[in-house]
């Protein structure tokens, strides 16, 4: 009985397929990377099924590739002959715990869907990705993502209290307080000695398949308010963002860039100065006013207040702003982190210059390399560089990849911190010496047969 049949006997015929035209659809993510075609795609509906699949794969040493929504922009693609575990059907919300402000959910649910459910009971999650439309909770956490809400709530990793993970050998690992047999509830992450939750945060499917996530939730804010500012220099813009963070104004979103993400795009490339920042703040209805006053007070020292409209729209469309760039053509994006402070401004200017140089350099291939800054994340910025190209032209596609690599290396040298690794940064990861060794050791421990997403993180 071959692997496909065995798996079929686990999940049932409709939930597994190895038809070439089906698996083809699972060979890519949203990045510029050409993925290999997996051998089969399986869509388990229960944890038990996942366990059985993993065990089987482990025994037969078949590579496994857990997949959320396949929208990664950093080359999270399966290897030849891998089993893709599509978590689409693991999309149920297990429980919304209004007492401890926790929502326990399966990984396959998209942020959008979850948002709809939470809203009904008057709650919300803290951090949502730029592409919350189709991005899944599992995928975002596994790549310790950031997004709207990060300005105060930090990384998705900060918003997770516990996990259930199926390990390659089929065992179900629970992390956090839910370990206690007598009170198996997720309400504390640092409950049982070492915090293993974090180990899976950012593991990008190299250690196991996440089957349950406990997310922090909060009550819906009574009020939200907005403010847009205009700055003449990166210095003032970066400084302003930092100061707002320092004053700990509850700033849900802090988007700084060449253009408010909803402004008209010049199809030839992003228009340049002035730099704008959109602030979105939350608070109780009778208090938010004071926050806004304070906010304006602070930021006006650096830039000009342009009212709230742009920021309001950008907040309303927060989960679709990426579309403004997608409309330009297929976009490859390289995200990275830059700390608050003087350095950030210098970085922006440098990388902006480089982007233009590259656009020049690849003129004949009609590439468009540009930098639109990004948003505040806890103690730093999440910036991204975009390469816009036409995938139907294979040469352009090739060149785009080269350009991407160049801008990436440049950013790295300028001090940008890689933050979603996939296969993009895999090489750079290996420079990290002892750190990488420890990663490898981990991999050894949890996945001795190296079946989990081989290649990703360069493991």
């Amino acid at each position: 009985m071959d692997l496909a049949n065995q798996i079929e006997s686990i999940v049932g015929a409709p939930n597994v397929s190895k038809k070439p035209w089906v698996v083809w659809g699972y060979s890519k993510d949203a990045s510029a990377v050409e993925g290999a075609v997996p051998s089969m795609v399986v869509m388990p509906t229960t944890v038990e099924e996942v366990q059985a699949i993993m065990k089987l794969a482990n025994d037969t040493k078949t590579p496994v590739f857990p997949r959320g929504s396949g929208t990664a922009l950093w080359g999270a693609v399966p290897v030849e002959g891998a089993i893709v575990i599509d978590t689409a059907k693991l999309n149920k919300v297990k429980r919304i715990d209004e007492e401890t402000l926790v929502c326990v959910t399966e990984p396959g649910i998209t942020f959008g869907e979850l948002d709809a459910i939470l809203h009904k009971s008057g709650y919300r999650f803290l951090v949502a990705p730029e592409n919350a439309q189709s991005g899944t909770i599992g995928g975002h956490f596994a790549s310790h993502g950031t997004g709207t809400g990060s300005a105060i709530y930090g990384y998705q990793g900060d918003c997770v209290l516990g996990l259930k993970v199926v390990l390659p050998n089929g065992e179900l690992l629970i992390t956090g307080s839910a370990l206690s047999p007598h009170n198996p509830r997720h309400f504390c992450r640092y409950a049982f000695a070492n915090d293993l939750t974090g180990v899976f945060c950012g593991s990008e499917g190299t250690l196991g398949t996440i089957v349950e996530i406990a997310l922090k939730i909060e009550r819906l804010p009574e009020a939200i308010d907005w403010a847009t500012f205009r700055f003449d220099h990166w210095e003032s813009a970066c400084e302003a963002g930092m100061m707002v963070r320092r004053a700990r104004i509850p700033c849900l979103h802090l988007f700084m860039g060449h253009f408010g993400p909803l402004d008209v795009i010049d199809p030839k490339g992003a228009p340049h100065d002035p730099i704008r920042t959109n602030f979105t703040i939350e608070g109780d209805k009778d208090i938010i006013g004071i926050y806004k006053k304070k906010l304006i007070e602070i930021v006006q020292q650096y830039g000009e207040y342009l009212g709230e409209e742009a920021a309001r729209r950008s907040w309303m469309e927060r989960w679709r702003t990426m579309g403004t760039m997608f409309t330009l053509g297929v976009r490859a994006m390289i995200p990275y982190l830059v700390p608050f402070g003087k350095g950030a401004a210098i970085f922006c200017r440098e990388i902006d210059k480089v982007s233009h140089e590259l656009t020049e350099k690849y003129k004949e291939y009609k590439l468009n390399v540009f930098f639109v800054a990004g948003f505040g994340v806890d103690r730093g910025w999440l910036f991204a560089n975009n390469v816009i190209y036409d995938e139907s032209d294979s040469i352009q596609h090739q060149k785009a990849k080269e350009a991407l690599r160049e801008i990436q290396d440049k950013a790295y040298e300028l001090g940008a911190i890689p933050y979603r690794i996939g296969t993009y940064w895999a090489k750079d990861l290996q420079q990290l010496g002892p750190y990488f060794d420890v990663l490898k050791k981990f991999k050894e421990v949890l996945d001795p047969n190296h079946i989990m997403s081989p290649g990703v993180l360069g493991l």
Binding site: G202, L337, Y435, V445
Partner: protein, 491 residues
Amino acid sequence: MGKNNKMVKVNKEKKIIEELKEIVGPKNASNEPWVLYIYSKDSSIHEGQIPGFVVRPGNVKELQEIVRLANRTKTPVFPRGSGNALWAAIPPKGSIVIDTARMNRLLKVNKDTLNCIVEPGIMWAELEGLLHKEGYKYLVSPGNYIGASVGGHIASHGVGPSSSIAGNQGDCVIGLKVVLADGTLLTTGSAAHPYHPEHFARYTVPYDLTGLFVGSEGTLGILVEICLKIEKLEKAVRFAIYAFKTYEDGCQAALEFRETQFRLVRLMIDQFIPGRRARYSPEAEKVVATTYPITTIVGFEVCHESLADPQLKVLQEITARNGGVDLSTLDPMVPKNAEGMWRETGIGHCLRFQYGVRTLLPMIIPFGMEAKFFFEKGIEITKEVQKKFPQFVYSDAGNAFSVDRHYLSGFMTWYDESDPENWADAKEAMHMFQERGWKNGWTPYRWGTEWNSYLKTIHPYYDILKKLKKTLDPNNIMSPGILGLGGKGGR
């Protein structure tokens, strides 16, 4: 064991102490029995164990040398902060105790990225002093923040009275430098970056290894550098005491306080026991003693004075909604400013120590209304134990402070260590607490060796810990016994 091996053993020890003295200088290493005795015990109820050596490295290099030596000679090492753990963090027999007291510098304060980088040996209170001078503060410090070292608290993912919004110490760490069993120096978080080794983000390079060492209690590596989140020091604070009729009301109110997402730096809930606390003024005490036995102590800070009173108003509304009363007005002892708050819950919190030597079994319970059942159950358990051991003074388990999405509560007994029988009983009592608490869903939260037998029952979690331990520390030299990892060790 034969005379011969004894000789071998003695020689080995001689060699080790010599090497240690070479590494750190004769003044900073010792195997004098009386020195070892001092370092043999923590603040917990358990007897100490005599280590083999005490050594006090002054910098990372020395520490690495020591660990390499230990790894070579397969001698266990036991990193020690301030030695006042309450959960049996006790050095294994013959181990090298690495006292971090000399590694106590504040290396850097990054105002831009709001963090500070410290060595593990620095006391929380010392650090607080230094940060205040700069106009900043750290987020969470332990109850005994005067006695405790930073390293120790991080390594045991501690919490403190200011945890309500800031959460667990684990949430306040951005990155670490750790010396692994083979002596290599591991950097976690964004500082691992070769071109730009700066701590400012924890979740950058994949796998959040930081978390792995937070709470490892010295079993995987020795922290030598810690990057802590800091925030601007706020002058504008408010502090209030609200009293409620029942736990229902109290817990509900606490939940709503928490939901406001104000920057609560204190949120404690607490049942009034006559003659237990000096927290109330007589007037206030009257109210509490008669109709409103459940009190919540709330303190918060704001970025702007103009925000303080509106926020306070919100809290008062919540209190009123839940049928509570505001004691703050009644009670002249309620702090009026940052200093007051600091005294009240900084030093004030530590004063539980005053009762004399005691066991503390810190445990966590969920936030919200459910906590009520735990409190009541806790009091029940306490009564039960009290019936068996009437000679002790007990803290009711009905008080706690809020930490992110849970409460930290626990069981306490005051006993007399000078009387062996009394001491033995106290241990018995504590085991009862452990067993009852565990069965009733209280979650232990600091481990040492105290919970080994329990931890071992959790699969596959525990197996994975063991595996990790084995790969990172093949010779099992890092605090063997702690967390039930590698050998008996511990008590």
